[in-house]
Symmetry: C2
Subunit: 257 residues, 2 copies
């Protein structure tokens, strides 16, 4: 079993040092409680609702920034995934995610599934989750667990329903027989209320944990179960695909017929 | 607005004449109540839990069977979609779906979106819905409404949750900004209990109607809203796709990297 913990933090807008301490404390707390994979929100280091490009640039970091070394040191044998505002080599700013393990090497390209000590982990950031092609691609690439650092702005929903993004996660987990851990953020920022919809979803698509009063959500997953795609004696969620029937989803041309 | 009605029937196993009358009565009732698109369950004409190939063959029909002409006559200006056990030209049996309009011409190829008087309608049968590539393909082909004749065997689910197939429909509707009408069946057949999970889902992914005591579920949809894929000033559920990032979902090769 692998213990996966989401830390639903409330970063401070444009305050790198405050957010650095916030994330580090959360990682330490989760690891002390046995977490082996820790997921932090989107843009954990920076906040989200920037007033200007300049404000975002003031808290943008490269993957070489020492804060990732701090994450790695705090992680011990655990793996940490979290979002950050990245200053790219090209001078542009990116909404990125890092996956940090004891080797302290972050990566910020989302689609690949990364082999870790606990299984293959894919990362999607927020809106990425809305694209079934991306969750499917990660499953086809062997991801056992998809982690989703996210900031979901609160939207209206019918009484008794999960947030719509959670429904997308549930459907994707079931369609691909993978585990999904979405770490949302808490609090309010410059008038934007967040959903605080952190969930851990099992490979059948059911929500097995949500954030507690401290914003922590934890589940123990047997990630190896994601490698068996059979869902009965005659069905397999990947082998039963019929690619010849699909519009060429990797082409850009208009498929309307 | 287009009135879409699902008739959650309980067909009798291997009794073509009984099911023919059942479907015809349901179509007439729905049309009398103003339905413009009527959706019937999977294998409406035949039942589902066959004991043998021979039993299925005894109730298999071709698209030329007069029952479809009856559907068309009862439909008037409406469009009828429903599942049937098909005897193919190749002598094989198929789990098919027909889309019948006043011209009385059924089609049984699922993936295309068919232009009707009310908009473009795509058909998926049951397990098809579990493949995000198919719902996406139909949206890319211009479907405004996806109808799903289905027989969902009842499976356990956590208290308060929708059936898992409904969650798949909700996620697909939202991901593609299309309307979805799933017509499940009722009753029990040879020990198989059915979910009776008929739902009409709007283009935001919310369930707006479920079957009433008579098994009828109806919603009035402005299907033209499915043609606008914008979900805010900067986002569009189809235009925001990033095909260059996806595993080639239309290839069969192993995409594991």
């Amino acid at each position: 079993m692998t213990r996966v913990t989401c830390c639903q933090l409330a970063p401070q807008i444009a305050d790198l040092e405050a957010n650095r301490a916030l994330a580090l404390g959360a990682i330490r707390g989760a690891v002390a409680a046995g977490a082996e994979i820790v997921v932090l929100p989107e843009l954990t280091t920076s906040g989200y609702c920037f007033d200007s490009r300049e404000e975002a640039a003031s808290v943008a970091v490269t993957p070489a920034h020492p804060l990732f070394g701090e994450w790695a040191a705090a992680a011990g044998d655990a793996v940490i995934a979290g979002g950050f505002c990245e200053l790219g080599d090209d001078g542009l700013l990116y909404n990125s995610a890092a996956l940090v393990d004891r080797d302290g090497e972050p990566g910020d390209s989302a689609p690949p599934a990364v082999e870790t000590a606990f299984g293959s982990v894919g990362i999607l950031i927020c809106y990425d989750l809305e694209f079934p092609e991306l969750t499917r691609s990660l499953a086809l690439r062997g991801a056992d667990l998809i982690v989703v650092p996210t900031n979901w702005p609160l939207v209206p929903r019918p009484s008794g329903e999960h947030p719509p993004e959670v429904i997308a996660a549930m459907a994707a987990a079931r369609a691909n027989h993978v585990f999904i851990a979405c770490c949302d953020r808490a609090g309010e920022e410059r008038g934007t209320a967040w959903t605080a919809g952190t969930v851990l979803v099992d490979e059948y698509g059911w929500v097995v944990a949500e954030a507690d009063g401290d914003g922590v959500a934890t589940a123990d997953f047997d990630l190896s179960r994601a490698r068996d795609k059979e869902i009965g004696p005659r069905n397999d969620v990947l082998a039963d695909r019929r690619p010849e029937l699909y519009v060429s989803l990797t082409d850009r041309e208009d498929a309307r017929v």
